[in-house]
Every structure is written in structure tokens, then in C-alpha cells.
């Protein structure tokens, strides 16, 4: 069924009246315009044949990857002891790409259930932060959580991990580290990130910018998400030269 019957009847009667003397092609074009109105844009998630599987571990707020397949794992997931673990944003991105099937207690999770993991605060990623993450990943950048090691020998025990949270929860925090697109990226020697990212709905004050830049060894950029669009900004303190 293409159009709801009352809409189809309306449109057909209008088109007949307006385009009566016109050519058949114009009537067909007008009908196509009307049907395009109801087009659903966006992409379809198709699960690939070589998709990996992972089980969501709610205790640590990460997915345990059972059988990693494909080159994506060179730039996604952290290694703890011998396990390959994914954050919620990495997990969702791979599910959207069709590269990962996520299970919970053995049952495959639907896409919208996977997205609901973003609403759980302890998983550490908001919908806004996820939009920023996927924006960069789609462009080929390598993205990790700020100050989180790619590999470590210790097993991950609980949700309160590796984040030194000396700033209060109300102030702005650095969320991601962004590395240059690199097909030879190695988790064992990732190098230095290009910059760190802060995700915020409100524009930063001068003090907030200063605090974040002081606490970071690499440049800091600010990301905002509004109406699904991601905008990245930098606020760089400069000193203009005195000109002669």
C-alpha cells in the first residue's frame, strides 16, 4: 500500500483538475511528488554475514565480544586481560553498521533496545555523545573514551573504572580522545590523540574552556548536537602580534 486512500483520492482529484490539459508525464511527475512526501529517509541496518557477536554485561556497562571478526576491531574496543570489551557507543555504532549482533542473556537485542542503553547513566554515554562519536567514526577517525587505555593487563571488575573524576558532575568534562584516521592504527601503540572532545548542550564559558585546556595535554574541541546535527568548535586563546 503506497498512500492512504483518502490522501490518494484528494491528490488525484487535485492533480486531475490542475493538470487536466497537461501531458501525461506531468501528471505522473505530480503523483510521484505526492508519494515522495511520505518517503522515509535514512539508512537501513543490514546485518552482515561476517558480523561479530557480543554479550552485554550490565555489571561493567560494556559488551564482551565473543568472536571478533573483521578489521574494525583494530580501532574499536579495549583489551582487558584477555577480553575484548566495547563501550556502549562503540557497541551501538557497530550494531548500526551491521557488524555486530548484541545479545543479552543469550537473546538478540533489537536496535531500539540497544539504543536504550544510552539512557542508562552508568554506561557513561549520552545520546548527544553518541551522535558525536558516530559522526567522527563515519568520517574515519579513531575515537576512544578520554584517558582510557586501549590495553591493560587487569580484568575489568566494576563500572567505576579508570576515569579520574576530579571535576564535579556539573562542570564540563572531556569525553572522547580523537586520533587521526589511520589504517595502520595499533592499540598497542596508539600514539597521541589529535585532540580531546567535550560534548555539551550549553556553550562553554571562558573559565570552563581554560579549566579543560589546562587539564589536557592535547588541544580541546567542543561538540554540540542540536536537532541531530553535530557542530564542532574550538576556542583558542591567542596573542596577536604587535604590528609595525
Amino acid at each position: 500500500m503506497l498512500l492512504f486512500s483518502w490522501i490518494r483520492a484528494w491528490i488525484q482529484s487535485w492533480i486531475r483538475r490542475l493538470f487536466a490539459p497537461a501531458k501525461r508525464q506531468e501528471r505522473i511527475a505530480a503523483r510521484k511528488r505526492a508519494e515522495d512526501l511520505f518517503d522515509v529517509p535514512g539508512s537501513t541496518v543490514i546485518v552482515r554475514k561476517d558480523a561479530s557477536t557480543a554479550e552485554w554485561d550490565d555489571r561493567i556497562g560494556m559488551a564482551r565480544v565473543a568472536n571478533p571478526r573483521g578489521k574494525i576491531w583494530n580501532t574499536t574496543g579495549v583489551i582487558r586481560s584477555s577480553s575484548l570489551l566495547c563501550n556502549v557507543e562503540e557497541t551501538i555504532y557497530l550494531v548500526e553498521q551491521g557488524c555486530l549482533v548484541l545479545t543479552l542473556q543469550g537473546r538478540t537485542m533489537d536496535l531500539h533496545e540497544v539504543l536504550e542503553l544510552l539512557g542508562v547513566e552508568k554506561n557513561g554515554c549520552s545520546m548527544d555523545a553518541y551522535n558525536v562519536y558516530s559522526h567522527f567514526k563515519a568520517l574515519g577517525y579513531v575515537v576512544s573514551r578520554h584517558n582510557v587505555d586501549w590495553t591493560a593487563k587487569e580484568e575489568l571488575e566494576s563500572i567505576d573504572r579508570e576515569r579520574d573524576d576530579h571535576s564535579s558532575s556539573s562542570s564540563l568534562k572531556l569525553v572522547f580522545d580523537v586520533y587521526a584516521p589511520n589504517s595502520q592504527f595499533r592499540k598497542t601503540s596508539p600514539g597521541v590523540p589529535l585532540f580531546s572532545l567535550c560534548v555539551s548542550r550549553t556553550a562553554p564559558t571562558k573559565n570552563q574552556v581554560n579549566t579543560l585546556e589546562r587539564g589536557s595535554k592535547v588541544p580541546v574541541k567542543f561538540a554540540t548536537v542540536q536537532g541531530g546535527h553535530v557542530g564542532i568548535f574550538s576556542f583558542t586563546t591567542v596573542e596577536l602580534p604587535c604590528l609595525s
Binding site: M1, A30, L37, G227
Partner: protein, 244 residues
Amino acid sequence: MSRWKGRGAKAVAEAAPLSGLYDEIRRWSARLECALSASGGTLVANRQQARLLCATGFGSDVLSTPDRRGDGEDLATTHVFQLMLEEVFYLSYELDCLRVHRQSSQGRVDLTLEELWCLMQEFNREFVKIYKAYSHLRNKRWVVRPGPQYGADFMAYRHHPTLVHSDYAVLVISVDDPQSRLASWTDVQGMTRLCGSVAKTLLVLYIIVDMGHDLSSPTYLERIKVEEVEVRRWLPQKHREDSQ
């Protein structure tokens, strides 16, 4: 003067008016599930519902997944939309087609309309004013889309963005606030020139809030007045012949 995109666009818009499409939404037999977070809502719809939501200009970043329960060639698809906070509330309050829940430490919590109203104010201090502006335009059957790409709060269209260019870039200003926006001529110049460069008119919606009333119920919206002001730059050079 509206700018319709191509022949037949105006006819299609007249054949499928927004009020008719809204009535179709109100007639849905089941409410759609929507997961709420501070960034907005995530909604799941079937194909028919998704087509109607797209035609009425709600949501962005649509992801489609084939329904695993379907079989044979004609797989039913589910579509996942991301909604702004204003869209979530409008769909709940005016079109009554959503069932909104959020994730808390106790698990999934369904929200009543009043709880939703109060929660949105926690997520965004300016929610009441922004929402009043949004619903004011939507109730007049304009299509309201996010505006930050154009430096505005919203973009207002006479019908679907595929049929018509937007008439207005909308800025929401509260009469009470000590003029936080358009506070100086530089601001006015900046906004009007920005709008002019994308061939849109700046529409300011002044929100006049009646203080001393109960903010905890959405019926408060009826006590808020909106005044519409078009801000334009007038060029004497171009109008010399007008009076002759």
C-alpha cells in the same frame, strides 16, 4: 511569498494539508513507544507510522531495521527516529500518540504527561518558552524543524521541506530576560544578514510569560502569550521607485 520547489509542489501541499495528516496520527490505534533522555527521545515506528511522521516533519536520523519476526520477501520494517524534546512533548500532548518512558536505576519507568512536563523543564531550563514557540507554530499548521544550522532556534516551513523552502528562521526571545539575544545592533545585524544570505526572513517570537502561576502542569501553556515579529533590513536604494 513562499518558494515552492518545482511545479506541482504547491498542489501536493494543498492536497495533503497538515491538519489532515495530524488527524491521521490521532487516529492511530496504538501509541508509539518513546525512550526519553536529556538529549531527546528515541521512538520506534512501523512503516506506515514512519511515513506519516516523515510527511509531517517530525524527527531526524531515521534508522530502519527489517523486522526479525517477518518472513518471506515482504519483510516488515521498524524505523527508529530521534526526536527533539519539543517534538516528544508535542506528539504526546497535542497528538496523543506516544507512550514515553525513561531508564532509571529501578529500570524502565513510564511517564505521565505531568511527569514528562516537569522532567523536560529539568533537562532544559528554557523548555517552557521554547516549547510554547514550537507549539504555537505547529498549531498554526506550520512545519517546524531544528534551526541551529542556520543560527536560529527553529526553521518554519509552510509544508514539508521537500516541497517548499523555509520562510522563516525563528528566534525565541523571552520578554522577561534582560535581553539575552538581539541585545545589541551587532546582534540584529548579524542575525538579519545571516538570514538574508540563506534567503529567509528572521521571525522573532516574543514569549510573554504570566508569572505567579503553576508551572507544574502543561495547562500553564495557555497563560503564555506569543507575539510574532518579522525583523527585516530595509534598503532605501531599492525602494526609491516605490512611492512614484
